[in-house]
Amino acid sequence: MSTRERRERSNESDRYLTQLFDKAAKASGLNNSGREIALAAVGGYGRGELSPGSDLDIVFLHTGKISEEALKSFVNEVLYPLWDTRSVDHSVRTRTQSREAASSDLRVATGLLDIRLISGNPELVAHVRNDNFEFWRKNAKENLAKLHMSLQERHVRSGELAYLLEPDLKEARGGLRDIQALKAISSAGIVPVPLEKISWAEATLNNVRESLHIASGRGKDRLLFQEQDKVAQLLAYSDADAMMGEVAQAARSVDYLLNYTWHAIEHKGKDGLGKYITKNRVTAVAKNVSAINREIVVDSLGSLDEDPLVGLRAAATAAQLGLPLSLKTCTELAASLKNGEGKLTNPWPDQARELLITLIGAGEAMVNIFESLDQEEIIFEWIPEWRSVRSLPQRNALHRHTVDRHMVETAVHAAKLTRRVQRPDLLLFAALFHDIGKGSAEDHSERGVRLIEPIAQRMGFKAKEIEIVKNLILHHLLLSSTATRRDLDDPATIESILSVIPDVNTLELLHALSIADGEATGSAGWSDWKATLVNDLVQRVKRVMAGAEVAQQPEISDEQRALAQSGQLRVALEEHSSGYAVEVISPDKPGLLSIVAGVLSISRLDVKSARTKTIGNSAVMLWIVTPEPHAPEVSAAKLHELISVALVDARDIEEKLNARAAAYASRPAIPVPEPEVEIFIDAATDATVIEVRSHDRPGLLFRIGAAITQSKVDIRSAIVTTLGAEAIDTLYLTDLSGGPLSSERANEVASHLKQALK
């Protein structure tokens, strides 16, 4: 089972056909037949590759000068002896007829790209070959559009080779026909196609197909369950799982290159935001990361050591914008990382973890980015543990994906549920790793807990957070199995959940993880029926649990208290690992949160977190901000000036923010879940707590602050957290007399907020 054997099989057929051709020439009395006619191979046979069950695709080319009678008898002379031995697909054409057939039938045109002389007049074959190349290149645009359409139809019909239990090696997405398509695209000469990236995949898939033909004794290309063990044995794999893992890996690399190639064709000569232009426009989208031709690239750096986070940042930015990472960037990143450049510290810096969470939280758009990181083996430089589940098959009727892809899909579904939990980052992280323990005979949940601990530590999660993640992974099947197998009316059932899930926050995380896991598994593992049961269980457990924890109001130091009493505006700026820490102490006034947030936003400082508290007539605020690319130089004095102007008149800020929002609106975007506003009546005695969960975006806090001010309530304290691309803002609100809000008022404020965030 190798390319050499397939080549030998092809050579043998050539010799046999040549004999038949010579015999036919003699028998039909065409003395000069060597000039008037030629026999050529096309398609796979044209490439000199024959599997035992492949058709012989051949073409008789003639000058048109032979009588029809003589031609017919010649062709029959050649074909009759063949019909007993193998199936033959043949056509008889002149040069003109070949040209017509190619222009009306895509399959003829792609087949002729591989035409090869077997016997007869070589000029005939050379003419047809050149004609066809010219046609293919000159009409590349229409031809490739047709090819793209036929591929999409076939993919829908045949499914994905990497994830089917019984895939068709030729027809399925990522299969052998796609490899031929890539070669045809390469021949069109519109974009370069790095075919060397799939040479391993081609050999692997061809070997499996050849062995399948031998094992089954038929020319069928569908790798049925019943044949898999035999085929694996012929190829000396340790078992069928090992073979299916390699088939999946091969198919993924083909699909990956094909996706890239279509993207490159579609966006050739367009700028980062999709407009046609002659010169490539470069748009900076994050530090050292730009968009060109609707692809994300890493700007040229001397060494990755200058900015070790740039790879993660490029991936996260690409995912959030819904654009692919450029192939060149991926290749270069992989090479530099393998050279030992850009090593992340252990534990990772906070920003690295944030970027990873931002990437995982991007939903559907994350899948292709993650695939790029996998294909180029970049992900293993960051998470070596991922290798153990790479393309690991799960051959059971429940799952439709390999383990790694299932976890990626779970994260995609989890991204839709981030509003349901207080820690979207822990949900996304647990979703991406919940099955990391698969691939051994040990219980995968228990093994997963052991494996996740060092990963979470390396990424810099805190001890308390690691405990939550471990709990989630250990119990990720608990809710489903309890809800379907135990009596929900029995207090012992509820008790069994309470004994391992300590609080509402963890329960909500586990519920979201169960849903994401179920939905990613597919309809065989998850249904409305099951979802209803799990929801019922969760609600019953919640009823006997204490209320959810909310972020606590910050403590004020004596020094801050003293400064606040002075009644003066004071701004201090310090370097911080995320950028800057900005301390603002200001006389309180309605809308203060909004004003300061607005000033930071127009200064192109991205708010990562904030803690504010009002004492007496002053407010103490600590902001952690990250400068955006091309942010102007900041200083305490500059911010002081902007804030003091805005305290008098904030209209200018609003205008500038609207302009920024309009500029951002023209950027590509991915769909994100709707913001969620939740009221916690009893969470504090002196104030009403409202929690806003939303996708982070420029000016978010300004909008929240403005909505609160319009509702005529005061902000006693605000705790703002950004986790990846999601923001959780906890607001302690009081009415104008300083007490907690009535429930009607609280509902009113919540609906104002929802309106403002639309």
Binding site: A483, R486, W529, K530, T532, Q539, E678
Partner: protein
Amino acid sequence: MKLITAILKPFKLDDVKNALQGAGITGMTVSEASGFGRQGGHTEVYRGAEYTVDLVPKVRLEVLVDDKDADSVVDVIVKAASTGSIGDGKVWTTPVDQVIRVRTGERGVDAI
């Protein structure tokens, strides 16, 4: 021949399955179902908003048996499925004209 259909609480499925296997029944069809009977729906509170759950998740189990076994099999199911509380479900039997095993073409009792 009879078709026995049982609507059960989901968590009772394992008990009923084991009891049936103990009684020598080897084949059955199980599907997810939802509905309500005398138990009715109930009200849930989620994120402060009340909503009514009309349909309660249940399991539907079907077994084909010979006429003479029908009563005893029904008893086995009822016994295993009972918790004594509301919503335990129902079991009923229907006469069956013909049964054919697809693979062999066997008919009638032989196909059960």
